[in-house]
Symmetry: D2
Subunit: 383 residues, 4 copies
């Protein structure tokens, strides 16, 4: 369970907002409003009813804590939410018509995921840019290459940064693909047949998807969870990639190595016991996130074997876990972005450690490899 | 990230309270107060200072949201917390003396774990009792045994319940052991040497542990995380055990089987699309928890390889994950306790399904096996 | 550790061959041969030396058990393998020139992955075809839709099959993408700089990749593991998807439901205690695989934070785990392919259970949804 | 899937033997022999039949590869195994009487687990002893304490070793408890009722358990999997603990730190690209194992929700995963035991790094903490 004191450091404020109770409620109401509007457009409910429902959804007068208690008791958010709306409406029968609880829950999650993805894409792009700068500037800066935590042969620091950059770009590409496929409207009714809509189900779905800015697959996906699993995987791989960068920097920042450091930020990275310390706090957050995301992605994979037309337990497990994956991933990005944008590098110490290792000075094709990586980036990424 | 609307159904209100921000802050302050008192008793700080610190900790005037922002910036809760206390105290140098951030964080987590464990032990004991009743009452109630989801040979329902009971008892026993070993004071200072305490470290630790009701291992455990891993495992195994019971009941509650049902609770288990439905909501919560706990326990295991005297990333990952394990586990217990206390069983239908399967009526040693299980329970469990 | 008696049921014979010791050794030798040939073509070693090395790799006279002992002692396969080759060659200095152990290990894994992917793609395609047939044939076959393991509203069996098909197609698409990106040559030398090759490293890499049929990224990827993570995720998602199909069929095959069964195969699905039983053995294998793959994918994600230019522990963990993911995934496919190709369906019983549930007969837009799914399939999949 | 070339380094030869096909077959035959003997002793089958069955089990003439194919086809090992025995026996009806496939499979796994546990307990005990020696010898050897991978305050190396030792001892204790509870006979027949044995089931079980050296719980445990889950957890926690030690040593062995090294072993830890390297191969194996075990333990936890009297998929997943956990855990122990028994420490360099960090020389209560840890060890552990 998340609390501010424990989780605020691991998450970003922006992402906490995306997955707040307020945002979830707003997304659920957006679903109901879009549904009414689409049904009116297809002549399934009266246009005035749709307008009144829309107005009610914009101003529903809901107390979140009370709604949460009711939802916990009912076993689903939609029942008390729809009950609340119907009790305040002259169009009770037109509200939530043809929809089921999972339609609201899954679509609301997707609306949150769309906003969350925007943050991830934006900030991962910025991270890639910082890394491209590091690669370019330090294409010829010699340092010791290290394998199995032992001195190996020379590399350039730019080559290290180019490798970081290429991973980030590759994970961003995968994430975009998964978003494109996976962030989709769910609208199927009780068993995914769109019954009770006079055969207008597909048209209503298309209208809703257009209004909500979501993809519209040919079938409702209430029991096909590969899209969510793909998103979860893409997030875990992003965080793992950032974890690798964080581990490298934390190792370089060791006192005995002293080649690179997180930028100094007043009040950050101190110790309650030792005033002299400057801890790699950004790396700590990223490494912590990279430890937590694999198990969460595995949970989503393990939830896939859902029973029949709507699973018991499996799909209920997904939403909080996907939310946590987004929060941890963006937390890691947010922690490392300023670190990489202003990484404090000591080329003199790099040179010194390289000399001390006595492994020569041949950086091989480091510079041309960096150039090749930057060329590929220019061809595939728009900043 | 947890929200009320998404997580309230999965967690219990009691457990959310144990792991709330308020409880965490109270536990952290309890640590600082106990530290001052113990240090005064050992003559390391003046007695009056300790009394004033204690009073301050009882009434610190802290805004949690602001503290969370400061903690997120600093990378540790203790720095702004201790800063806040020192700024309001004439005994600044006596506050947090000889302690470090992790001492506060780990001990606060353990204080919460102690309370959390109380809830788990209490309610798991009640569940075991309900199961013992079911086993006793139905020791001779015939039903179809099913293996690989196919009809097999007859059993008694009491034998099924006795198996459930034995698993619960075994997991409760393991959990008690792990609590006894793992719920311990952490007090080591910057690197676990208890420096700066005039050699009074061990005595101070013993006093603190006594006041806080925690075990006191011979060495501080800031880089030995097997105790937390043991707790995590014990919780995951409890939830897996309850998941098995929930799966059985959900399968028995299928319309075509119809042998056992969750008790009817007004407003629970309905459908937003189908008024006739009575969903196994307790089972759903337990199965969902059982899907989520394995990955969380794995996260704690994966965090164990922590660097040197305090890890980077690993230990920071543990606290929110352990909190979530407690919440999900108690959520599963809380969901299934009323189900098992009032399970709605249809022996006639059991008999009918058994006849239809045409596998005879020999229940073997079902009744004596139930008796053996109950005897063992009487010898090992106190209700 | 895999044994024949325990694992033969879970894996396919074809896939066991792909990941056998013999295949691994052959792949490692293929790497060394391609390296020599490419280096000769770029003038880095004499052409005759390359020919002799190639001949030696074709006929190296290696005892696998002895090599395994030496590799275990050395901590890497390449050292004893290259030692063996050099000891039998007049071109010792031309063997493995500019390469390092990980180059051999990663490229050999990728060669195996390429073969493994061929099996997965072929058989998943066949599965999709069987599912399309089921969807088409049963587009209008009524059955009970079930949600939360309770009776809900009617669907057609074709709609259920169409959903299965769409997931399989989506996971196949993801897998193809990941293969295209991830199955790449690794050739970087000690620290990924391609030192010691007279600036011919990129050209040599391009020639090797062409000969071996692998992608050639601009930089060696020895410390960028997102490609392997992407493959692992795609495999886990395939298996999860098949697990869902298996769970549905196992539930339909319950004696009390009796709507669909695995085809009868003499000698399969029996019980050592009950002669009358016909167990869903294909579903069992698929469900077992779906339980095992999430943790394995999580392991690969957790391994990503690899240190510097070659990790300690992380990359060594990947190869056996990726091999196991391929084996389990293809095992699940192989188990379910004959089940889906000859699924034994009882439409009369479906109709009867539907009537008994008393939820009407309205299948909503089932038929047109099936048609939409089949249309999308026709547009995106080539059989 | 395990192969010699990939897995021999990660596993120990001893443990591979314990989990070999030959051992599994021997264990399965041991079950059948013990069953016949116990049934004869209880008068359920004739004594001569039992003797003949025992003789047959001692010399069954089975081809493992062929049996594996048959088992894969049948979906269970017991069917072809029992079929083979019955075809060669005049006592066909007395073989496997009252038992089912899972009885053989689970009990055989437990017999292997008992042998495996012997290796773990023996070698973990040796490791503890080496660590106790290091703690004692270096109780006052000053070195830099490091937190969050940064210089912190001084400790003694003995304190570090004492912490390692305490974790090992604690994990060994947990493992012993889990073995004592979990390594038990499984004998329940088709649905765990011990039908068809004239009420002699409990007595037969007691005799079998005594002969096989296994615990005998009051009920068969075919659908109660908490014991296996406890074993899996204990193994994962052992490996995590060893992973922590390995990480510390690998960090100390970095060229820039150079305070401790794995002992030099000819031919171990070399590089195929760099002759000068001495890689921490033992640490590599342990860290790799520590990455792989969490996901495997999670798999076992996730398998717990098994259906009714014998699960579909869940229990079939456990045996290979538990075997792998034992192999990886003992592989990690075997890799680190010689490292810790002959750790190459450089106290001069420790002192130098400590001076360079400029954090004073106060080791606090390091020495008395070491003494306290050793005292506790003396009171609880027998070497």
């Amino acid at each position: 369970m998340a609390t501010l004191l424990r989780d605020r450091a691991a998450f970003s404020a922006d992402m906490m907002r995306v997955f707040s109770d307020e945002s979830l409620l707003a997304a659920a109401l957006q679903f109901e409003a879009a549904l009414a509007t689409a049904e009116a457009a297809e002549g399934v409910i009266p246009a005035q009813a749709a307008e009144r429902i829309r107005a009610l959804c914009a101003n529903p007068g809901i107390d979140i804590a009370a709604l949460a208690e009711d939802a916990a008791h009912a076993g689903t958010l939609a029942i008390p939410l729809v009950g609340h709306l119907r009790a305040r409406s002259q169009d009770a029968a037109c509200i939530h018509l043809g929809a089921t609880s999972q339609d609201v829950a899954d679509t609301a999650l997707m609306l949150q995921a769309k906003d969350a993805a925007g943050l991830v894409v934006r900030d991962l792009g910025l991270m890639s840019k910082s890394l491209a700068d590091l690669a370019r500037i330090h294409a010829d800066t010699p340092m010791l290459g290290r394998t199995l935590l032992q001195a190996a042969l020379p590399i350039s620091f730019g080559l290290k940064a180019a490798n970081w950059m290429m991973s980030i770009d590759a994970t961003l590409l995968r994430f975009r693909h998964e978003m494109g496929r996976g962030v989709a409207l769910q609208f199927g009714g009780a068993t995914g047949t769109r019954a009770g809509l006079d055969g207008k189900g597909a048209a209503i779905a298309a209208r809703m998807a257009a209004e909500l800015g979501l993809a519209c697959p040919p079938l409702p996906w209430q029991a096909r969870r590969d899209g969510i699993a793909g998103l979860a995987a893409a997030l875990a791989i992003i965080t793992g990639t950032i974890g690798k960068i964080a581990r490298d920097i934390a190792l370089l920042a060791q006192g005995e190595v002293a080649e690179a450091f997180e930028p100094h930020v007043p009040g950050r990275g101190g110790s309650s016991a030792m005033a002299h310390k400057r801890n790699p706090t950004g790396c700590q957050i990223a490494l912590s996130a990279a430890l937590r995301t694999p198990g969460l992605a595995a949970t989503i994979f393990a939830s896939m074997a859902q029973e029949h037309e709507r699973g018991l337990g499996g799909w209920q497990a997904e939403a909080p876990v996907l939310a946590e994956l987004f929060c941890l991933t963006h937390g890691a990005i947010t922690a490392m972005l300023p670190v990489l944008a202003a990484l404090d590098i000591d080329p003199a110490r790099m040179a010194e450690n390289l000399r001390a290792a006595d492994v020569g000075t041949d950086m091989g094709e480091s510079a041309s490899l960096v150039a090749a990586a930057l060329t590929q980036r220019d061809q595939t990424i728009e900043d």
